[in-house]
Symmetry: C2
Subunit: 359 residues, 2 copies
Amino acid sequence: MTVYTEHTGLSLDFDEVRERVLTRLTLFLEAKRDDAACRGLSPEIPETLRDFVTAGGKRLRPMLCSAGWRAAGGTGLPDTVIDVAAALELYQAFALIHDDVIDDSATRRSRPSVHRSIADRYPRARNARRFGEAAAILIGDMALMWSTELLTGAALPPGRRSAVCSLVDQMREEMHYGQYLDLFTCLNPLDDHGAPLTVIRYKTARYTVERPLQLGALLAGADSDLLDRLSRFALPVGDAFQLRDDLLGLFGNSATTGKPVFDDLREGKRTVLLALAAQRADTAGLALLEKHVGDPRLSEQDALRVLEVIEGTGAPAMVENMIADRTAEALAVLDTSPLPPSAAADLRHLAALLVERES
Amino acid sequence: MTVYTEHTGLSLDFDEVRERVLTRLTLFLEAKRDDAACRGLSPEIPETLRDFVTAGGKRLRPMLCSAGWRAAGGTGLPDTVIDVAAALELYQAFALIHDDVIDDSATRRSRPSVHRSIADRYPRARNARRFGEAAAILIGDMALMWSTELLTGAALPPGRRSAVCSLVDQMREEMHYGQYLDLFTCLNPLDDHGAPLTVIRYKTARYTVERPLQLGALLAGADSDLLDRLSRFALPVGDAFQLRDDLLGLFGNSATTGKPVFDDLREGKRTVLLALAAQRADTAGLALLEKHVGDPRLSEQDALRVLEVIEGTGAPAMVENMIADRTAEALAVLDTSPLPPSAAADLRHLAALLVERES
């Protein structure tokens, strides 16, 4: 793939997008902290969320939302777009905080996850682990509520307010159905790849790529034809993004991904990659996968044997091919779409960022 | 107290309010279920929520919202009021489902709590208990999102949409700060009653009584003077409601409350009642409280000894007095407010329902 060579003539300064979204979130959460302090309430919720959003994150959704704005002919980067982008980012914080409780992940963005860090902070609690989880559930809930507040407080174009809010409702619902389905995949046989594909579609392709892009476009007044075109670009890119994520989860460098190596294996995360490997493994290989995948105490030695089996089935190469096919499909949509050239360049840049990344 | 004698000349038919809200919620959730089925997604989330909302609940917030509408001169009971009331009820479902996960409550509305019932439904999960909790976190999240969808989909009066949404944002935030503070009260000494009073104010008085009432009034165009008056009625009633709840939690009849007896004691729920008892107990009594309150395996025999100590301190009678004082304060506000007489009768009726209840 050579998409990276085409990144000249971008319309957006993506560093500016990331910085403005972070500034917006920081100001919002610091105002919440000051307000809590004024009322004698604990500043821990807004401070935890501020630390969470400043600790990192790729700001994919804000970048896609801004690119959607430009794709639909929007000019500049008005505060409304940044507000909506910031709402998406805070929604993502909510989703990750709850997801980490559900998976009992120890680490997020190279730091202790919210529930673990609160458990460490209050050793006096009768059951510090459950205490941390309870606090993280509530902090996540507040992030979701504040994300709504950021959105409804944005100066949305009056004639499009209802369409924008509906699209956000839809995005949240899709993502959540994906999360729920994801939870249940662990009850399926290892070689089932239908459910992981549906999870990818709902949890990642729609939520991470399609909807943020369409939201930005809708703010600029996109018609349904343009929204459809953006969707035909976004869904294959989104699928490819998650397939890349699954590869990185097993074979990536934990120093760049910020996630501990073997976490996905120990958690038993069901992916297309794993399903393909299970389908193609011989009896001994399948038995090894069934024994070790999802074992929270999986040793490094056994994890390396699992990776060897997966490699041996050729599944990683198949997934690389799937990524390449989907990326090509997405880029072809751009070639035939009447977009402003610099906006198309933005989308090509983002496609590369999503599918060629190493973290 | 004789507030019950005055319930003639009500403006609202509260049975109708409850029925219409339940119908609205049922239709909304069944449409969600059909929509999920069409897309090949699991109907478990909408079905679980439908079962949860039909299983019971006093519909306090819907009744208060409707009463607020009438208090501000609204006529009839338009669909918009029912939509907002239904959104409040679905928000409450979210709050209870997450609260039950946090407290690991086995029972809600005389049935197994959501996380327990899902754990029972999927014994094949590697860790059924955590699986049930994970599913319940996601189902609660969806209830929160759908509550927003019900609200933003309501035909709110265009000039007041932003004020209504802000008030809902504020209500959610206050409730959540109350929940968070409540979590931390278990780290305080037993005799601290400052934190429980703040929890009552945020988690109950504002969230359960003041804000629903004001929301209904705002829909009918209430000015800030009326909103203030309603607040001065609502806050003492709300405090009294929670104080009654705390008494029922220890001394109520579990057949009418729907909660297992001694749950509050085993969970170590910090209440004003408990703080007053701890302040007034002698050394032996305090030691007994400190030993047993919050012990999840507390025996029935020891629980009865704890109740005996609490009774002996006179704390329950003090709490009864606090309830009476607050109720009188609230009713006095009605006596001096220029409300339509039948609307004032509605509020007196609700005050009685809130503070004189046995379940």
